[in-house]
Amino acid sequence: VSLKRGNVANGLRPVGPTVPEFNLATAARVGGVVVAFSIVLTAAAMSGHRGLATLAVFATAIAVGEIMWMAVDEDIALPTSFAMFPVVAVAAGAGAFAATVTVGSIVGVMLVATRTYNRAVTIMERLLAAAVAFAAFHIVLGAFVHRNAVGPMIVALAASELGIFVVDECVRAMRGQRSSLEARQGLLAWLALGSSGVLMALGYRGTDGHGAYGLSGVALFATPLIAAVYSFERLHAITRISRQTIDALAAAPELGGLSTIGHAQRVATTTSDISRILGLSHAQIDALDTAARLHHLGVVTLPADAIATSSYEDVAEMTGEMLRGIDALAAARAIIEGDTGLPSAVLRVANKYDHITGGNDRRGVMAVAALRSGADDVYDVVVVEALARVVARRVELQTV
């Protein structure tokens, strides 16, 4: 029995491009940043540059915030440094603001340990967001007469946070990523970031000469945000574990030699391609993806002699039986059992397609023809046509 790791053909889902995990290594990085900047801070404070020392603290906070993310979804995460930009905008002039934000962002981004993370682009994005935050704050504040009053200050700071949000959404759209508001947690994360940013800035500068608490204000008012970041981190961790366990389960039939290697993974890819063309909702695509990974699981409960002769429906029924009572998988189970109309049809077609081609897309055209003819079974026309487009694109990619 060989025990080499990585034999699993149906491996892990690719980790989202923008969600670094918070672990011991990250903690060490955060510690490193804090130590390095404390040295700068001490030097600045000893040589009598209080202003410089404050900026060093802000740069540290931005760098740490860049490493500590609020993970909204598998591929969406917001850096907590977004909450710091308005604080620095309140505290510093244009030159000092630019310097602080640049140093903090570069240090933070360089220390994030994620392979699929384009550092240069991310730094540009942060600097753009910071510039917009700064401009929005000063333009909106400039429109008021009593610039030190509470109301104008809060409005200007809120505008600054809104600017960051708009830049982030635009960058996301340009990169072809989903909007951060698509997941429910996205809105909550922005609310926490925004209100904490405004509160920290107010605590630093005060209004009408009252309540200017300086750095201690920023530190104290960061506590609700830290609680929020921790809560997001915990939720992300358990969601990840949960998804990976489902992936591990999906691998069971292949590892036991009861199904061809990579079948579930390929069916998942095909279903997601088809469902994009059909314009299914995000929730449906998610459920369909899980259903595709698990649709073959029931084969493990079939008697050995029945496996070869079992139909798709037999296995689906066994899988449905296995998943009964798992609330988290109820949507996927409905798809597998054929209760959901279009998503179920997509899964059936993708499964049949993989059985005919055996993973070789060169046989794709032939497979589509077989599905169209409905020689042994009738398949949903709309889904088969969508599959035809998927196949055409794959063949095109292969010949290029």
Partner: protein, 479 residues
């Protein structure tokens, strides 16, 4: 503020502050009030109400607008208890109370905070179930404690309060006064209700009271910000906390769903391999005993538990007819059954946080090697697995007595098993007075056709280490 809180063992963690009277999840709402406690609750709430009238009569009255705002905030924070991943509930009520103490310092310094404190008794589930006594007791305790904190803050000289950041220190006497009064009254009511010694309860409660100090700083700061900036600051402060609460609640839901998923899987596993019903769960329990004894933290214990629960998961991929085959397996079939370990290993490796300890699933890798730097978790699972294999009754054989299982574990300690784990398990079981094995088995299930026991029988899947020795062990036990 944690109004009436319960000193309870939090599963997997230390002692936590928990609501006592209201346990919505377990639905054990206490409606009986022991006579002593009834007397106590009446007097505490009567004193608090009398103080309200006395202070109102003396004046000055606190300004109405902030009073309404803080009362509403207090009631909200009582309902918005934050469930932490450790299982502890904390309510941010004291932050609000402390802020009100700061805000009312100039006008109605005592009456304002007292009313805010009393407001925490307005707990909806109590009102809805008409458990007025609990509401009154909560209100009385919180009111008195907040009043004590306000008194402590009034004593602080104005020069200190005006100075920043020195004024932060002013929060400490208030926090201390609050903790002392609240804990004192709580312990008294808890001792009266559960008939436990006062000192013991007080010790447990004070140990978890440190968080009040941190809350006091935040509350003081929030109060000052309210004076400087206005009520908007409170909203800005509360939003991230509410978001965190929402996330923690979702976290708990996802976790429960995950546990349910594992539950279903284990059930499937047990229907497939019918000879090992309950085995996986018992192994997980013993593994956690050992982990706790070895001083594992909450997170590490949880990881160990998941690894133990899934250590046999690969059996899902082994054809059922082999697992349940009556009679001896051929060499090929036996190899096939053994393959489940490799499959379990692969599956655990898919799960990132279990990857380091995926060898829990694999008996070749759980053989003890002195001095190796491997993680200890696989050794723990091996000991738990072996202990359960020896002490559980299967349809085709009886369990061994516990003493024989202990002797066998001790004999193999250092060669097959990690001695530390063996001794930890034996220690815990003896301390907990848990006896498993012959004469203590849970109900036995009879199967229509019993398979032949012996090496290579799939029914002995988890027992193959003992396969050869099982006969002689049983004989010596019989003798």
């Amino acid at each position: 503020m944690p109004a009436v809180i319960r000193v309870a063992d939090v599963p997997g963690g230390g002692v936590g502050r928990r609501r006592w009277a209201d346990d919505r999840r377990t639905n054990c709402f206490v409606t009986d009030f022991p006579p002593d406690l009834r007397w106590f609750a009446t007097s505490v709430s009567a004193v608090a109400l009398a103080l309200v009238f006395a202070l109102a009569f003396r004046g000055p009255l606190p300004p109405l607008a902030p009073l309404v705002i803080f009362v509403v905030l207090e009631v909200c924070s009582e309902h918005g208890a934050v469930p932490l991943p450790s299982g502890t509930l904390i309510t941010p009520g004291f932050i609000v109370a402390m802020a009100s103490i700061v805000v009312f310092r100039e006008h109605g310094a005592l009456l304002g905070p007292l009313i805010v404190g009393l407001a925490s008794g307005l707990y909806l589930p109590h009102l809805r179930r008409r458990t007025w006594r609990w509401a009154l007791l909560n209100a009385g305790i919180a009111g008195c404690a907040t009043l004590a904190a306000a008194l402590a803050y009034e004593v602080v000289p104005s020069s200190v309060v005006a100075h920043w950041p020195l004024s932060l220190v002013a929060a400490l006497p208030s926090a201390a006064a609050f903790v002392l009064v609240e804990s004192g009254l709580l312990c008294a009511s808890y001792a009266l209700d559960k008939a436990r010694p006062f000192g013991e309860v007080a010790g447990e409660l004070l140990r978890v009271s440190w968080q009040i100090g941190a809350f006091a700083f935040l509350g003081l700061f929030l109060g000052r910000l309210y004076l400087d900036v206005g009520a908007t600051a409170l909203v800005l402060f509360v939003v991230p906390i509410l978001v965190a609460r929402e996330m923690f609640v979702t976290h708990l839901q996802v976790r429960q769903r995950y546990e349910a998923t594992l539950d279903v899987l284990i059930r499937t596993l047990e229907t497939k391999d019918r000879y090992t019903a309950g085995h996986v769960r018992r192994v997980a329990r013993y593994a956690c005993y050992i982990g706790e004894e070895l001083g594992f933290g909450t997170a590490r214990l949880e990881r160990l538990r998941y690894a133990a629960l899934m250590h046999d998961i690969g059996k899902l991929a082994v054809p059922g007819h082999l697992l349940n085959k009556p009679g001896r397996l051929t060499a090929d079939e036996y190899a096939r059954v053994r393959q489940h370990e490799a499959v379990s290993f692969e599956m655990l490796s898919c799960i990132e946080f279990l990857r380091d300890i995926a060898s829990c699933a694999c008996s070749d890798h759980t053989l003890f090697e002195p001095g190796s730097d491997r993680p200890i978790e696989p050794y723990i699972v091996a000991v738990a697995d072996a202990y359960d294999a020896m002490t559980s009754t299967r349809s085709y054989r009886r369990a061994l007595p516990q003493s024989v299982a202990f002797t066998e574990l001790r004999a193999q300690a250092g060669t097959q098993f990690d001695p530390e784990c063996v001794h930890a398990l034996i220690r815990v079981l003896q301390r907990r007075n848990e006896v498993h094995g012959l004469g203590y088995e849970p109900s036995r299930v009879e199967w229509p056709e019993a398979p032949t026991a012996g090496v290579g029988s799939a029914g002995l899947g988890d027992l193959y280490h003992f396969g050869e020795r099982f006969g002689e062990l049983s004989e010596s036990a019989g003798a």
